[in-house]
């Protein structure tokens, strides 16, 4: 019973982290039909920057967000304008895989070159701390990561729903030509959308660095599960990705009890296959995702 409760708590916290890490990935696809293999590489890049910041200055890694979020936003806009927008629209999805694959390899190589392949972990005074909630332990670092996820996803949701930029972005997602007809500069909006996705990678990477050991090739372990999440959630839908992340994170955590780690991990891929067979537009995507 105690184990079940503990696993539920861990599952919720894990689901929150997954949602944050997958949010950017689904946004790129929503805005531009871009499959961004390099998203997890940018997560690891942000994690390394947070580690580097903390190990040189001794200040809490969360403070590094002040610099990395704007930096990643600018990087994202630049990447979209200088690289992605040059791809031919007809083959954009396929070519973006190749392009971002090479970006991922470049980031991995540079990280190895600059920081070496040594595995790093941010040493936090509160790294092993936890408090008890109804008999289950809640780790402080995991709760912070969950909090970052909740705040950023809520912020992203409000930005898309409430602001004029959000309307323009959603219009670009839904029908680029019509958006252009009503006077939206879709090129610029797409650039900002991409920057926004990469800004979530800065937050996600920092959240990841709080509670894991990082090394340059770690991103290959993340991209598969994250891709599975956005397909199950419906490509392009941020609420869908968040719900799918929560369901898969919780499922993984609970299945661990009877099945063990190896089989619990396959849950992601079982969910992926089931989604593609039964409901290829994703379970939570709704109208938006059905267009793809």
């Amino acid at each position: 019973m105690a184990l079940l409760l503990q696993s539920i708590v861990l599952g919720v916290l894990l689901g929150g982290l997954y949602a944050l890490l997958a949010a950017g990935l689904t946004l790129y696809f929503g805005v531009m039909r871009v499959v961004m293999i390099a998203h997890s590489a940018f997560l690891i890049l942000a994690a390394y920057l947070a580690w580097f910041f903390t190990s040189t200055t001794g200040i809490d890694p969360l403070v590094s967000l002040v610099a990395t979020v704007p930096l990643f936003f600018v990087l994202g806009v630049a990447m979209q304008r200088l690289l992605i927008s040059r791809l031919r629209p007809a083959t954009l999805t396929m070519m973006s895989v190749l392009l971002t694959f090479s970006v991922a390899l470049t980031i991995e190589g540079l990280l190895g070159f600059v920081f070496t392949g040594t595995q790093r972990r941010i040493r936090l005074p509160y790294g092993g701390d936890s408090f008890e909630l109804f008999g289950a332990n809640v780790a402080v670092v995991k709760l912070i990561a969950f909090g970052l996820a909740a705040v950023s996803l809520l912020g992203l949701y409000l930005l898309l729903k409430m602001t004029q930029f959000g309307q323009a972005l959603r219009a670009t997602i839904q029908h680029p030509e019509a958006a252009r007809l009503v006077g939206i500069n879709t090129d610029r909006v797409a650039g900002y959308g991409f920057g926004l996705g990469l800004a979530t990678a800065a937050i996600g990477g920092t959240a990841l660095a709080l509670d894991s050991t990082i090394y340059p090739s770690l991103h290959w372990h993340w991209i598969g599960p994250l891709m599975a999440i956005i397909v199950v959630g419906g490509l392009g839908s941020i609420p869908g990705a968040a719900i799918a992340a929560m369901v898969l994170g919780m499922g993984q955590s609970l299945l661990q009890i009877p099945l063990g780690t190896t089989w619990a991990q396959t849950f992601f891929y079982v969910a992926l296959f089931a989604t593609l067979m039964v409901r290829p537009q994703g379970f939570f995507g709704g109208r938006l995702a059905q267009r793809f």
Binding site: Q6, L13, T93, V97, Q119, N137, L235, I257, T261, T262
Partner: protein, 411 residues
């Protein structure tokens, strides 16, 4: 509609597959050395994972081999001849390592070969060496499956195979009165022949002593979340927790256990705690953590001090286990060559070297080594523990730097 949704996923898979193929096809481009038949040099062929998954330990082994070759040449060479190394990069790829040794033996005409790093690469490499009748001494292939392939040319140049790493600890627990031993034990191991071997060697010994194994988890190498495994272990409240671990998994698991406020009486993890990065990552919560180690620069064996001084002067830092095992490989082969008096590709010479090593003991930087018929070294690993903030040898009694702390302080 359906096919368009699946497209990105299929593309991802295709991209991953083509990338793997590409990496496999790239050539290392370092083969244009002169033929090794030269009379006043002895050429030694080696393939190492200098890029890819095992690049970090692979480079460590390379540093060890190069230090050994330089030292040998500065000290009169081997049979009075200079030693020259030909090092190829196998990119951590098991297919590639076999063709590398084919090339070294056939095209480069090397006189001797040294082994690569890690079980996965040692097995295919040893097969090639066996086919050509070459002696095959290797620095890193400790898992049981290395010794069950029927190789009669293989010798592992380290104190113990994976399953024997915890022998001194198991002996110590066995000597304790049954009432004082841990009652329950939890095991978590990476799905990797070496890591599992270390944990299961101890598990089987504890099982014989009547210790109850309450958790026995295996996780794949790509596991990113250790919360659930930690929850299972914490829920069992085992007296002893053992991790069959490499590096990052051990660190992640230990922190996850601390987060769940699980306080075992004893905690033992392979590999990670002896890494200098480990206290950096865990902070002041390392106290009492136990780890087996095949090498420490402090060891008092005769040739070790010479090795540590030479290596430290050359590289600016003391050697670690990978470097030491590479050096040991050099020492073992050199001992056989000097005793037999030959070093060339001729099968008779290689067979004499093999026969000599079967019969004799060699003094090395990790202590005196001798082998059984399958090439298993007949020793055990030193047991180290974090005592008063530093990692020290605690077992066996005759080598200890500090007393074993049986009840680990809270972490």
């Amino acid at each position: 509609m359906k096919s368009r949704t699946t497209t990105p996923v299929r593309i991802v898979a295709l991209a991953a597959a083509s990338c793997l193929t590409l990496t496999g096809c790239l050539s290392s481009g370092s083969g244009s050395e002169a033929e090794g038949g030269d009379d006043d040099t002895i050429t030694i062929g080696i393939s190492l994972p200098l890029t890819g998954d095992f690049s970090e330990p692979g480079k460590g082994v390379q540093r060890g081999y190069e230090a050994w070759a330089d030292w040998t040449n500065e000290n009169g060479g081997l049979l009075g001849k200079d030693v020259e190394l030909i090092v190829l990069d196998d990119q951590s790829n098991a297919d590639r390592v076999a063709s590398d040794y084919e090339k070294l033996i056939n095209q480069d005409g090397v006189d001797l070969v040294f082994g690569p790093f890690s079980t996965r690469l040692v097995v295919p490499a040893a097969q090639v060496a066996q086919d050509y009748g070459f002696l095959f001494v290797e620095p890193a292939g400790a898992a049981e499956e290395v010794f069950t392939q029927g190789f009669d040319n293989l010798f592992y140049a380290a104190p113990a195979v994976a399953n024997d790493h915890y022998d001194y600890l198991a002996d110590h627990l066995e000597e304790m009165p049954a009432a004082e031993r841990p009652k329950t034990a939890a095991f978590a191991s990476m799905d990797d022949p070496f890591a599992m071997g270390t944990a299961y060697g101890l598990r089987d010994r504890l099982d014989e002593m009547g210790v109850d194994v309450v958790v026995d988890e295996v996780y794949p190498p790509n596991t990113t979340d250790f919360g659930s495994i930690a929850a299972k272990i914490a829920d069992s409240d085992a007296d002893l927790v053992v991790g069959g671990t490499q590096y990052q998994d051990a660190v992640n698991l230990i922190v996850a256990l601390q987060q769940l406020d699980y306080q075992p009486r004893m905690a033992a993890f392979s590999t990670a705690p002896t890494n200098p990065e480990f206290p950096e990552a865990i902070g002041d919560k390392t106290e009492g953590i136990i780890s087996p180690t095949g090498y420490t620069p402090e060891a008092s064996y005769d040739s070790n001090k010479e090795f540590v001084d030479y290596y430290t002067e050359k590289n600016g830092n003391p050697p670690a286990e990978d470097e030491a095992n590479a050096w040991t490989t050099g020492q073992v082969v050199a001992a056989a060559v000097e005793a037999v008096g030959c070093a060339d590709a001729d099968p008779d010479c290689q067979q004499q070297l093999i026969d000599w090593l079967r019969e004799n003991e060699v003094d090395t930087v990790v202590g005196p080594l001798s082998w059984d018929a399958e090439g298993r070294p007949q020793g055990a690993h030193l047991i180290q523990q974090y005592v008063d903030g530093a990692i020290r040898i605690v077992l066996p009694e005759e080598a200890k730097e500090a007393d074993l702390v049986l009840d680990k302080p809270d972490w």
